[in-house]
Every structure is written in structure tokens, then in C-alpha cells.
């Protein structure tokens, strides 16, 4: 039987109390949200916090709301809630594409967006999704809040910009008119982590691609240089030739390793091919979105 090493447990009744506990215990304290990444790591002794601060009662962190031109998603929002939200589906089909293939229903009933991003596992699907969407995250600490772009949030595998005594409270995703987005993932079996995955988000302006975002999962730790792919796409006219170029660049700019899920070579191939497929679908969806807004 796998049991974590001993730890103390506190159930926070407010964000302020959670922050106070995190500050007091410093490096030895960890937030527990869904627990579906942290508890397995504790069972395997890959993590050994002295204190778990349970944030599951902090309902103010469980929300999805449209504020101005961004969607605000609380850190404690579960995978399942995201999947079932029509608001999320309408503006960000990429999130629903991904959520359908993240783990399985019982895991999605527990796992949260905040936990996914803070776990900072290079295979985490929502990291690639939020990267493609150019999301920003809100980190709260004793001194107040700071808003950090996804590009600066992950500082390496399992490392984030969340400091000691801080927590992630919200994810903010810009809503762009006429946007299209999609997520493509290859997994070995239903509910498994990605062999490789790619997410794309973009808008079309006068027939040309703008605001392109690309995110890859499971093909390399930390700083993937996808700026080059985004720069290539911006201003380009959608065409198979352009997707081909983008696919080649995505392939070239990732750093997969061979493991039980596949060889580095295969994953590199997938990174390109899945980028291409996500591009096709994003453009098709952007066109549909513009068609409907045009009529309205």
C-alpha cells in the first residue's frame, strides 16, 4: 500500500488564512487543491511537505466569469466545470477539446486548473492550452496581487513564478473577436497523458492570421521557443503551405525525450503534425465564428 509520509493538515477558511499558513511554514508548506498530482507524488516520496493547506473550501476561487474582454477562471475551478461550461466552449473551444481528453471523469471531478498550471509538468495539457491562449495568471501574496503572463509563469519543469507564501488565484484569458482555437492530442489510451499535443489559438483579420498562439505539451521541459512559430503565422494568409512551414518550425523548436510513450523522433513528428491539424481547425472555427458574428 502506498501512503504518504506524515504531514500536518489545515483546511483554509479564507484566502488570507491560506496565505498566512503558507507564509508561516515557508518551503515546507504546499497547497492541496484536487490533490490528483500532489498526492501521487507524496505517495512516491517525490514530494514531502510538512503541511498541506487545503483550499477546497475557498469557493471564491471556483468561478468562471466574463469581465470586460477577458474570461476569468478561479484557480479552484475543476476540469469538469470547465468542460461543462457553455461560456468556455463558446469562446475557447480549445479548452473543451483538451478537457475531453484530460485524464478521465473521476479525475476531472477533482483536478483543478490552478493545480494543473502549478504542477508545471511539461505534459500538462492546460499549460499548453493557456500558453496558446496567451493567458495571464494572478498570483496573490501578503503584499497583494501580481499578474504574470503564461510565458513567464513556468520557469522550468515543476517550477513556477509562485513564490513562498503565495498562491495562484485566477487565470485570465483574453476574449478576441472572431477567434478560433483547437487542441490536438495523441495518447496511448483513453485518459492517458499525451504522447504529444499541440494547441493553437488565433484570430483572422481581413483574411489574415493575427494574434497567433501556439502551445505544445509533452515535447520538452520549460522554455520552448514557440515565438518563432507565432511570428511566422501572424500576418500570414491561411494555407496548407503556411501550416507546413509552421509544423516544421514547431517540430524543430521542441525537445522531446524518448520514454515509454514514444521515441523522441516520433514525438517530434507529432509536434509538427498536431500543430498543423490544430491550425486547420482553428482557422475553420475562426471563419465560422466570424460568419456568425457577421450575421448577428
Amino acid at each position: 500500500m502506498q501512503v504518504p509520509a506524515s504531514f500536518d493538515y489545515r483546511r483554509a477558511t479564507s484566502v488570507a488564512e491560506a496565505l498566512e499558513l503558507l507564509r508561516r511554514y515557508g518551503e515546507e508548506a504546499r497547497v492541496v487543491a484536487g490533490g490528483h498530482s500532489l498526492l501521487p507524488m507524496m505517495k512516491l516520496r517525490l514530494a514531502g511537505p510538512e503541511l498541506l493547506v487545503d483550499i477546497n473550501d475557498l469557493h471564491e476561487l471556483d468561478h468562471i466569469e466574463l469581465v470586460g474582454d477577458e474570461l476569468r477562471v478561479g484557480a479552484l475551478t475543476r476540469h469538469r466545470t470547465l468542460l461543462e461550461s457553455p461560456l468556455v466552449g463558446r469562446y475557447f473551444p480549445i479548452v473543451h477539446d483538451a478537457e475531453k481528453v484530460i485524464a478521465d471523469p473521476p479525475v476531472r471531478n477533482r483536478g483543478t486548473i490552478g493545480g494543473s498550471l502549478c504542477q508545471a509538468d511539461p505534459s500538462e495539457d492546460l499549460s499548453a492550452v493557456c500558453g496558446a491562449l496567451h493567458a495571464r495568471v494572478v498570483i496573490r501574496g501578503e503584499g497583494g496581487e501580481r499578474v504574470v503572463p503564461m510565458a513567464d509563469f513556468h520557469q522550468g519543469p515543476y517550477e513556477t513564478a509562485v513564490g513562498v507564501g503565495e498562491m495562484l488565484v485566477q487565470v485570465r484569458i483574453p476574449v478576441l473577436p472572431g477567434a478560433g482555437s483547437a487542441y490536438e492530442k495523441v495518447e496511448r489510451k483513453s485518459g492517458d497523458w499525451a504522447v504529444a499535443a499541440a494547441g493553437v489559438a488565433l484570430t483572422l483579420r481581413e483574411g489574415r492570421i493575427a494574434d497567433a498562439g501556439v502551445g505544445l505539451a509533452a515535447v520538452g521541459a520549460g522554455a520552448l521557443n514557440l515565438d518563432a512559430v507565432q511570428e511566422l503565422l501572424n500576418g500570414g494568409e491561411p494555407s496548407e503551405a503556411l501550416y507546413e512551414e509552421a509544423a516544421l518550425l514547431a517540430s524543430a523548436n521542441c525537445s522531446p525525450v524518448t520514454d515509454g510513450r514514444g521515441s523522441a523522433e516520433y514525438k517530434r513528428h507529432l509536434a509538427g503534425e498536431l500543430t498543423r491539424r490544430a491550425l486547420r481547425r482553428s482557422v475553420a472555427r475562426a471563419r465560422t465564428a466570424q460568419g456568425t458574428t457577421g450575421e448577428a
Binding site: 500500500m1 483546511r11 490533490g35 490528483h36 505517495k43 487545503d54 485524464a103 478521465d104 471523469p105 473521476p106
Partner: protein, 174 residues
Amino acid sequence: MRITVNVNGEDRTREVEPRHLLVRFLRDDLELTGTHWGCDTSNCGTCVVLMDGEPVKSCTVLAVMAAGHEIRTVEDLADGDRLDPVQQGFIEQHGLQCGFCTPGMMLTGRALLDRNPDPSDQEIREAISGQLCRCTGYLNIVRSIRWAAREEAAVAAPEATTPATATATTGSQA
């Protein structure tokens, strides 16, 4: 830590270590061994119980995190001698062989029908997709849950919509 968890409608209070897993709490402390325990890594789904009505893998929930919540286990499905339609479905459609996955499968079926009384086969498959069965090939599990859906619809429908066929009702609503 002293915790109180509402299990199958009853508040159960125990002294537990924070690292105690919900599956152990149910099986060892409350002796509700209907909840099975397999991989211990949140992969197989045999440990699924309902937490506030929704399936969760109890090997990956701390008992202390379940405090103040409602847990439902397979022991609660039958009402005395009357089986839940989902249980009856597993009998009618041969939904089990060794029975190892069965408690979790039935609870997931129950939770699905509570939300969606008329699921498609695809929706049933999706609902049980986090749970492994090494015996049945899943087909009969899907049939069992579908059987339960039809049974519940049949029991509910006659009085409500087709009074002409009311003689067919068995009055099993008790």
C-alpha cells in the same frame, strides 16, 4: 485529527492521521469493504465512490479532505432487499465476471443516471472510461447501465404519460 464524514447518510466520526486515504477509512475503519482497492495510483478506478454525488477515486482523496462531505458507497445502493436498478441491470445483462471493478462501475452508473436519465451508449462509455474491467470487455457493463436507464424510465412513465397501459405498472415505486 478527529473527522466526521457522512457515509451512506450517517455521520461517522473517527480519529485519523492526515495521511490516511479515504479508501482505507472506508474499508479499514468503517469496515465497508464493498469499496475495492487496486492500483493505488488513481489509474484503475476500482476505488470509485461518490463524493457529494460525483464519482471520485478514493485512493487519491485524503479522509480529512472528505470530512464534512457526503460519501456514498456500494453498500448504500440497495434499499433493504430491493436492489437499485443499476444493480439489477448488472444481473440481467451479465455486467460482471470477477466483480472486482463492479462496485465502482455501479456507482458511476448510478451517478450518471441521476444526472442524465437517458444516456447514449457513448455517454455511458465516457462515464466509465476512468475505470478498468479486465473481464467483461465493457460491452455488458454498458448494457447493464442502459438496462437500468430503461427500467427507471419504464417505472416512471406509465402513470405519467400513458394511463391506458396503467395496468402494466407493477407499483414498485415503494
